[in-house]
């Protein structure tokens, strides 16, 4: 943990106050960092959220259980699928619905495809934050190939609305698995190029190594999860720790790092992309291609879910993502709370890690934590 420069006396002339955001390419979404810099070194960082004015949680209390599945995907724009899955899983648990096996596989496939798309965009983001705009073009293009797959499977590129309480909306279209494999090969090729250009790159190495080190003692204090925790050596992954869907039927190992800086976090995610491709290919091999993909549902127009509460969680690209649902036996949610990892990573952890860094590296540091302000403001 860095030492706080205190107190910051702006009238001393030693400091300059700078606002980074709420519109800034280094911040994936609308939030802002209020920085006090001394020269080009950050002396203090205050994080600000509240620019999105969305109130999804409240909105969802006025929507029926089926209607909400079209809302949740908007909570974290680059990763709608995790929201779709968690909402569906929570409702299914409260309503006592068992999802058929084929739907479980299709969901696993979707979540991993989402992880791949999200990581591709993030990889572009981290590259661009350190000055590599070309890599951004590469990875975002390849993300689009993944989105093509989503479009084919779900009917939409971003807001898929595919995982619905009770199952999924459709199986694979004709020939889809082969086209998916072709895209995975293509992504694998670009990843090799990215590895060459990014990880053996003097500029990237110099700037990212040692940047934003998260020590093990910070992990529990800040509630750090996902690759940010794994990059400091913690073997923490819900897919392994508490397997859901069909993750217990695919082979993969939890990727960990040691250095726990921005470079290490990038490296961990990079390896997880390869691992994700392996899981996706395993899904294609192992999932049943016939059979039901939807459970028998009550009439969704007046669906009353029994009173109860539950918290369900899944490993999204940024770590543990959770949905807390309370129902009261009516057609509407009594309360829903969405807990995304960005909350601690972007709001609290960032204030700590930014201090002492070079102003030019703040964007890179922020992106290396992989946060989405939309999921802070549900």
């Amino acid at each position: 943990m860095h030492q706080q420069h205190s107190p910051i006396d702006l009238s001393s002339g030693k400091y300059v106050k700078l606002w980074q955001g709420p519109q800034h390419p280094g911040i994936t979404g609308n939030m802002s960092l209020e920085l006090a810099v001394c020269g080009d070194e950050v002396a203090e960082c205050k994080t600000h959220v509240g620019y999105l004015h969305r109130g999804f949680e409240k909105l969802m209390e006025r929507r029926t259980f089926i209607q909400n599945f079209t809302v949740v995907c908007r909570i974290a724009v680059p990763e709608p699928t995790f929201n779709e899955y968690l909402y569906a899983a929570a409702v299914e648990e409260l309503a006592g619905i068992d999802v058929p096996e084929r739907a479980l596989w299709l969901r696993t496939f979707n979540l991993e495809l989402m992880r791949l798309a999200s990581y591709l965009m993030w990889l572009g983001g981290i590259s661009a934050s350190f000055g590599h705009g070309t890599l951004y073009q590469w990875t975002v293009t390849h993300r689009d190939y993944v989105l093509d797959l989503f479009e084919e499977l779900t009917g939409a590129r971003i807001y898929h609305m595919y995982i619905v309480p009770g199952g999924v909306r459709a199986g694979f279209p004709e020939g889809f698995a082969d086209r998916a494999r072709a895209v995975f090969d293509k992504v694998e090729r670009i990843l090799r190029d990215v590895e060459t250009v990014l990880f053996s790159n003097a500029v990237f190495k110099t700037r990212s190594k040692g940047l934003g080190i998260i020590t093990q003692d910070m992990v529990d204090r800040y509630g750090i999860v996902g690759p940010n925790a794994r990059a400091c050596g913690l073997k923490r992954d819900l897919r392994k720790d508490e397997p859901y869907l069909t993750y217990d039927q695919v082979d993969f190992e939890v990727v960990t790092g040691t250095a726990s800086d921005a470079y290490e976090r990038t490296w961990v995610r990079y390896q997880e992309m390869h691992q994700g491709l392996s899981i996706l290919r395993q899904c294609l091999e192992r999932m049943p291609m016939d059979g039901p993909f939807q459970a028998r549902m009550p009439n969704v127009l007046h669906w009353e879910v029994p009173a109860g509460e539950t918290y369900v969680k899944a490993e999204c690209t940024r770590g543990e993502y959770g949905y807390y649902l309370v129902t009261d036996g009516s057609q509407y949610l009594r309360r829903i709370h969405v807990r995304g990892p960005s909350y601690t990573h972007a709001v609290a952890l960032m204030e700590d890690l930014a201090v002492g860094t070079n102003l030019a590296d703040v964007a890179g540091l922020m992106v290396s934590l992989h946060t989405y302000p939309p999921e802070i403001e549900r």
Partner: protein, 597 residues
């Protein structure tokens, strides 16, 4: 830092000469994927305007509106969804829930227009460029938001049912009823089709929510014969139920029964209210069948003193004497009738208007009269030999059985006719141990009987011979036998476009011997109780008393309803006639105009 770290970034140049990935719009077009959720397409002919799309839309992006030039068929609200693309989020829940499966999305996703109002359009009716698009999102065959299969009604097996007069349909358990009620989408298309306009979606909802008392109240708003109709209604509502478009319609009739069966009759007065204070006016009702008792109920509710004159010694009319107890047990009919009587409706049994009480006296002594005498005269076969003592009328057989007199039908029975009376006569004969042959002059699809009656009669072992026209009845070998000669019929198309006509093939006739023949080809009314002085004002046309608004006849204080007045001749129509006439009588007696302008 190594030399490699300095050189590696230049590797990006390798890709500089690759073909760009980007699409050059508008030179190149990229169509949406086969499942793309693009703009809405609605097959306006398939759509029935149930509005379920509107109900599920979380953005209120859909309004059901009338469409110019669209002439709706029965079971069609005449409305069609209009989409507002200022609100739509293309989630396609409307497509998933569409009961007619007329709605889908095209894979078109780009649309430019100068006029923002264009973004509100009626899919399928307005000329959109993507109307003919064949690609785009449609509901997968294996994905459903509604349950197409009906909860099966527990029934006696045909072996059990033909051996006794026990009720065939056992009724839903409370759990089954809730499950079946859950399938309803509450579109209300059925309400327009029900002759009584019962608030079907509301009482189904009450049942689903376990609020039986509200359910019962809703039933009695339009139908005081809910126990009866819950069993034997012709349920036209189910023929238009939108769930039936992709599956089996909601069992509306059985759900009505489920409500009534779960409320004990001792609770009726508490739930529905007690007697209404007399308003000092008197109304006479002729006939204690569904029409007459329905009028009596609604008039009594408004405070009228009602006296019902019934020629037989029990109430119920055709429900009692024409519907066998295996379809409508006496107790369940009595549940309806006794509640009506308990409100202060007086029924004078064994009192025939005309012979026991002169019609004129009745009209004189009451503020209004409602005629609901029903059709009790069996239609003649009009063939040679039909006066044979072993030729019985279907109604007579049913009446005998209803009264506990088991007529001697013998071992082999022929039933002539294709209506419900014929089916019931056949099934009753089966229960009395006879082998039954049903002779019907047209095809199965032309039979006026309820499809389930036809089905059940067959399941119980009745032999059905269609396109068979009786030609002659003659003496059998012994006095307790009778012979019938019938000829095969060919269906000949009607040049005027009417239904095909059976034409006797004289060279193909058959003669069979039976122990008795039951003729059940229809009934007619007996209007002899109406004295000549009224005949010039009470018009009778084609065997029916003609009525105007609110069932009023040419004599202002005389109203008419039921089988003697309407052409549908079923219980629910009679019940509605009674209700409607009660409104008319009330209007007349409270000084409002009865005839509508």
């Amino acid at each position: 830092m190594s030399l490699k770290d300095l050189i590696a970034p230049f590797y990006v140049w390798q890709r500089a000469f690759e073909k760009p990935y980007t699409q050059r719009r508008p030179i190149e077009e990229r169509p949406g994927a086969e499942r793309y959720r693009g703009f809405h397409v609605n097959d306006i002919e398939l759509c029935v305007g149930c509005g379920t799309c509107e109900a599920i839309c979380q953005n209120h992006a859909i309004d059901m509106v009338t469409v110019e030039g669209l002439s709706p068929k029965p079971g069609d609200s005449g409305l069609r969804p209009r989409f507002d693309y200022g609100r739509c989020c293309w989630c396609a829940l409307c497509v998933d829930i569409c009961t007619a499966r007329s709605l889908r999305l095209s894979n078109n996703y780009a649309w430019l227009t100068e006029n923002p109002d264009d973004f509100r359009f009626i899919a399928g009716a307005d000329p959109m460029s993507w109307n003919d698009s064949q690609l785009g999102y449609r509901r997968d065959d294996h994905y459903q938001l509604l349950t197409p299969e009906r909860v099966e009604m527990p029934m006696l097996s045909p072996e059990e049912s033909r051996a006794s007069f026990e009720e065939v349909a056992k009724g839903y358990s409370p759990e089954q009823a809730v499950l079946e009620a859950d399938r309803c989408v509450e579109c209300g298309i059925c309400v327009a089709t029900c002759p009584a306009h019962m608030s079907v979606p509301d009482y189904i909802k009450a049942l689903r929510q376990g609020d039986l008392e509200r359910g019962l109240k809703l039933l009695y708003e339009t139908n005081p014969f809910s126990s009866t109709c819950g069993r034997i209604c012709t349920h036209r509502c189910e023929t238009v139920c939108v769930i039936g478009l992709q599956g089996t319609p909601i069992a509306i009739r059985w759900l009505k029964r489920a409500i009534v069966d779960q409320v004990p009759d001792s609770d009726y007065k508490r739930i529905l209210g007690d007697e209404t204070p007399d308003n000092g006016k008197r109304v006479a009702v002729i006939g204690a069948g569904p029409g007459g008792m329905s009028a009596a109920y609604y008039l009594r509710r408004k405070g009228y003193a009602v006296i019902v004159f019934e020629a037989k010694h029990r109430a119920g009319g055709m429900l009692r004497y024409g519907v066998p107890v295996y379809r409508l047990p006496d107790n369940d009919l009595d549940k309806d009738l006794e509640y009506i009587r308990s409100l202060g409706v007086e029924v004078r049994f064994n009192t025939r208007i005309g012979s026991d009480v002169p019609f004129a006296e009745l009209v004189e002594n009451h503020d209004a009269v409602f005629i609901a005498t029903g059709l009790w005269q069996p239609t003649k076969l009009r063939i040679e030999g039909e006066e044979h003592p072993r030729v019985l009328s279907g109604l007579k057989v049913l009446e005998d059985v209803a009264e506990g007199r088991h007529p001697d039908l013998g071992k082999r029975v022929a039933v002539i006719g294709g209506g419900n009376v014929a089916m019931d006569a056949a099934r009753v004969s089966r229960r009395l141990g006879a082998e039954v042959t049903i002779l019907y002059r047209r095809r199965v699809e032309d039979m006026p009987a309820d499809p389930e009656e036809i089905h059940e009669s067959q399941a119980e072992g009745c032999r059905l011979v269609t396109q068979s026209i009786p030609v002659k009845i003659s003496e059998g070998a012994t006095p307790d036998k009778v012979m019938i000669t019938w000829g095969e019929a060919e269906m000949v198309a009607d040049p005027k476009g009417g239904r095909p006509r059976p034409v006797l093939q004289e060279e193909r006739t058959h003669t069979e011997t039976y122990d008795c023949i039951i003729a059940a080809i229809g009934q007619a009314g007996d209007f002899s109780f109406i004295p000549p002085e009224y005949r010039d004002r009470i018009e009778i046309s084609h065997g029916k008393i003609v009525s105007g608004d609110y069932q009023q006849t040419g004599v202002a204080k005389i109203f008419v309803g039921g089988d003697v007045a309407n052409w549908t001749a079923d219980a629910i129509s009679a019940i509605e006639d009674g209700h409607h006439a009660a409104r008319g009588i009330d209007r007349m007696l409270s000084g409002q105009a009865v005839a509508q302008a």
